[in-house]
Symmetry: C2
Subunit: 238 residues, 2 copies
């Protein structure tokens, strides 16, 4: 009976970013865990199956169970996802790229696991936020990830100036992400809204062969803008 079985665990499983070989950016230990699971909670089933196949999972993908967790999943459906784990089956949470739960789905199921006394085990993998910050030369003793800036004006410029001020007064690096097709526009908005001496890191195509990570002042960026349109990017103000 379920009551007699120990609870399963919830593994937070990173997925590669960029066009990289799986085990160039994930420890091979992650495969040991992947091979031990047959229940996956995933942002997107198609992407997850492709990842598990590339990762060389040791049995047929058709024998595995997949459930989706993304912005379309209702709270009621999320609460059903935890039931197999309570009943003893471990699960792996996979987002489409990078680490689950950070700028990606996964936190909801981890929160539910904690409420049910289930261990949540994070594995090592690529976070574009951390990789960009490591390489930025900006303050890594205090930093904030703020997600996406508002799309509409005047909220957008107001938010940029708010975070620029916070970067200065609190000496806290301010990290942002943007949809690739809106990157060039965001760069223009930083260049028109921030002070000449403010530092801006532009990190695009992280871990790709075309990776470009550079920190300059807004004044320097104004003189020579890089071509970043449609390339996945992280921006950091410092």
């Amino acid at each position: 009976m379920a009551e007699n079985r120990p609870k399963g665990k919830l593994y937070m499983l990173p997925v590669p970013i960029g066009n990289t070989e799986v085990y160039d950016v994930l420890p091979t230990y992650n495969k040991t865990i992947i091979d031990s699971l047959d229940y996956f909670i995933v942002e997107n089933i198609r992407t997850a199956r492709r990842f598990l196949s590339r990762a060389g999972i040791n049995r047929p993908i058709d024998t595995l169970t997949f459930a989706e967790l993304n912005e379309h999943t209702s709270p009621e459906d999320i609460s059903k996802l935890i039931v197999p784990i309570i009943n003893g089956q471990s699960a792996g949470m996979l987002s489409e790229a990078g680490v689950p739960g950070i700028a990606d789905p996964g936190a909801d199921i981890a929160a539910l696991a904690h409420r049910n006394g289930i261990d949540v085990i994070p594995l090592v993998g690529p976070s574009s936020i951390i990789l960009a910050l490591m390489a930025s030369g900006l303050n890594g003793q205090s930093f904030a990830f703020n997600g996406y800036l508002p799309v509409k004006q005047p909220e957008r410029t107001r938010a940029i100036r708010f975070f620029e001020k916070r970067a200065q007064t609190e000496h806290q690096s301010q990290i942002f992400i943007e949809a690739p097709y809106r990157n060039a526009k965001l760069l223009d908005d930083f260049l028109s809204s921030c002070a000449n001496t403010t530092k801006l890191t532009i990190a695009v195509d992280i871990l790709d062969p075309t990776q470009f990570i550079r920190t300059k002042t807004i004044g320097e960026w104004r003189k020579a803008k890089p071509e970043i349109n449609k390339r996945p990017a992280i921006f950091i103000i410092g």
Copy 2:
């Protein structure tokens, strides 16, 4: 002549945390980079040599060049560290544990690299901050790492309340680190300063076999405090 040689690159090289096998928490690709370098800028030379030996570097450690970069290094000495890279030699930056440049030395040399037009290349590895947040179930769309809280009162309680309020008003997870020997004290301070309904993640011994990561409300933690004294820890308020 140096002017004719291409500049070197600066690699930000993660190091394991916890009592883990090196390649359980680092991709094997990192070894390819480590094996290609003979100049290392490190937080601590002894620890760095031990890590390179454990990582199985493919030649005698005595043939490598080491330079220290930590809180005792003067700005003048830091500016000397970049000279070999300008002259064409690539370097690896290693902190004592985890990822360099984040809650650890490394940002100063990365900043200097950017000012000299040198590529800074981040590699994948374990960040206790990111691992704790992934597993916390707290908001990973907006979060801040605030380093250490002030040690003295009344600044300490004031800071705890300031960040608790920011977690609520901005729905931004607030991450802190503490010296292991002061952990139990910090937990007591959270329990006496925060509201019953505030959520607190306690993450200790991350990636160790004794790993403990749990999110509960302050009210719940008050009823049963875990034994965390002298265990490396990350705390998150959400």
